[in-house]
């Protein structure tokens, strides 16, 4: 019997923008043959706020709160990237104390972001339990943010040239306690998921993206490392004093969804390791560098990229010598990583598309900007 006997006509359906597993307002147009995906097309822009354009009408300090709204799961990392870019333009450097505190807060943010990813990814696959557990652990980190800078989600914790707030009493003890609290919980998630047959069945061999594809699509972050490429900007181009800390870059082998899960779990452990090292070595000294009140950076441009929880997060700031940036361009990791969706989803089933969207770890605030 010829293969074409059971072929059906192509079915085009919309997944999203109001779909619980598209992590916001992503719309994917799926072309289906039966239940097999023959093509996908992403429609983005439902959350477009024109952040880059807003940046052209704000002074350098005023734009800092807006970058928190790009990747709201990792607001502190976004703030760090922007502050480093403007500091490069101004040719100043944050004092050592500020740098160490920045590392602590961004690494805690990496844990918080990965916890959210884990919870939502599990929820998409059908395991609801871990979602409640990760929210409980994330609360510890958010409490530290609330006590340190007064906000929980969109923190605005860093300022250009250093920090605005001095550490509160008992910061070190609380950070250590949070690390001690979260570290055993990660093992617990592994007990819930890593060996679970349903979890393995849904993830193994799904959405394979090998190293060559990753490089062609510009995919960075845990997705690239799961494909076996040892590339981490914290090691490759150390910023904010990351060269002082000892940590490993976890890598996977197959580049499938299961490997990405394992890489992110290991990254959380490494982040805890960095925080524990950093909190021991907070030096004394000022927290704010010598920056002018009215910032007028010299004419020029600066690009700084940092390793955000989702991948390479770059800020390109052009100055024309006035108080406002001439242009701010954000290179968001989610936006670039989302391009690989079509490659991964082609040939898989509809249910796998949900798993693949979850594994990319997109935040639509960052994709649409």
């Amino acid at each position: 019997m010829p293969d074409t006997f059971l072929d059906s006509t192509e079915l085009v359906i919309n997944m999203g923008p109001q779909h619980p597993s598209t992590h916001g307002v992503l719309r994917v147009i799926l072309k289906l043959d039966g239940e097999k995906v023959t093509g996908t097309e992403c429609v983005i822009g439902y959350l477009h706020r024109g952040v880059e354009k807003i940046g052209e009408n704000r002074t350098y300090q005023q734009f800092a709160p807006y970058v928190d709204r790009l990747d709201y799961c990792a607001a502190v990392s976004n703030g760090l990237g922007y502050c480093l870019a403007v500091e490069k333009l101004l040719n100043v450097e944050a004092p050592p104390r500020a740098q160490v505190v920045r590392v602590i807060l961004t690494e805690l943010n990496r844990i918080a972001s990965h916890l959210i990813w884990l919870g939502t990814h599990c929820l998409d696959i059908g395991a609801i339990t871990p979602l409640f557990y990760v929210m409980r652990e994330r609360e510890e980190i958010l409490n530290i943010y609330e006590k340190y800078c007064g906000a929980r989600l969109t923190t605005h914790a860093f300022r250009i040239g250093g920090l605005e707030y001095e550490l509160y009493d008992g910061f070190e003890a609380e950070v250590k306690a949070a690390c001690d609290f979260i570290a055993p919980k990660i093992e617990e998630y592994e007990r819930l998921l890593t060996g679970n047959r349903i979890w393995i069945g849904r993830l193994k061999g799904i959405g394979v993206l090998n190293a060559e594809d990753c490089k062609q699509y510009g995919v960075t972050g845990p997705m690239l490392r799961a494909a076996g490429v040892k590339w981490d900007l914290r090691k490759a181009q150390p910023y904010s004093g990351y060269e002082k800390y000892e940590f490993d870059i976890p890598t996977g082998e197959n580049g499938d969804t299961y490997d990405r899960y394992l890489v992110r779990m290991e990254e959380m452990r490494q982040a805890i390791r960095i925080v524990r090292q950093a909190v021991e070595t907070i030096p004394d000294g000022p927290i704010m560098g010598k920056v002018p009140k009215v910032m007028k950076p010299p004419v020029g441009e600066a690009y700084v990229s940092i390793e955000a929880p989702k991948g390479e997060l770059g800020y390109f700031v052009v100055s024309d010598g006035s108080v406002m940036p001439y242009r701010v361009r954000v290179r968001p990791p989610s936006f670039v990583n989302l391009q690989s969706l079509d490659k991964m989803a082609r040939g898989s089933l509809v249910a796998d598309v949900v798993a693949i969207i979850g594994t990319i770890d997109i935040v639509l605030g960052e994709v649409d900007r």
């Binding site: 704000r58 300090q61 005023q62 734009f63 800092a64 709160p65 807006y66 709204r69 339990t129 557990y133 409980r136 609360e139 409490n143 609330e146 006590k147 340190y148 800078c149 007064g150 906000a151 969109t154 605005h156 605005e164 707030y165 509160y168 617990e188 007990r191 819930l192 998921l193 060996g195 679970n196 047959r197 349903i198």
Partner: protein, 151 residues
């Protein structure tokens, strides 16, 4: 053989379920009973704005320097002032704060040279109208009225 037994007796699933049942004890409950029990937010929390008065004589601390309005990214603060001919000083007349556009970044608070404008720990800021979110000087000085729930 071992793998077969694990498959038959669903060991991997039971391992996960043990974690779930471990947390059934009331000791591990961590949900905030929000409207009945208000959480105590941190000291530095950035919530509803307040215009502070001098506790000694009840006069406003604000010197109408307009720095907060300049620092605000959303330009939502409008400071009205007039010059007192006797003392040759600027005096505050009106102060408008559009809370519906505020993103609680704290830049106005940082800019204030006399600690007159302050973001307080009040976080219950929902309102019924857009006009009601534009706070005038009186509202800012008195602060929002605490919400009471009855059960």
């Amino acid at each position: 053989m071992r793998k077969l037994l694990r498959t038959i007796f669903l060991i991997d699933l039971i391992e996960g379920l043990l974690v779930t049942f471990h947390y059934q004890r009331p000791k591990y409950m961590c949900t905030d009973q929000y409207p009945t029990e208000r959480p105590k937010v941190a000291e530095r929390y950035r919530g509803a704005p307040r215009l502070n008065n001098n506790p000694d004589n009840g006069e406003t601390l604000c010197i109408a320097c307009n720095l907060c309005a300049l620092a605000c990214p959303e330009k939502l603060i409008v400071v009205g002032s007039e010059r007192n001919e006797k003392t040759r000083r600027k005096e505050l007349t009106t102060f408008t704060y559009d809370l519906s556009r505020c993103m609680f970044c704290g830049l106005c608070e940082d800019a204030c040279p006399v600690d007159a404008l302050e973001l307080t720990q009040d976080f219950e800021l929902a309102g019924y109208t857009r006009e009601g979110m534009i706070w005038d000087r009186q509202m800012l000085e008195e602060g929002p009225k605490p919400t009471k729930y009855e059960f």
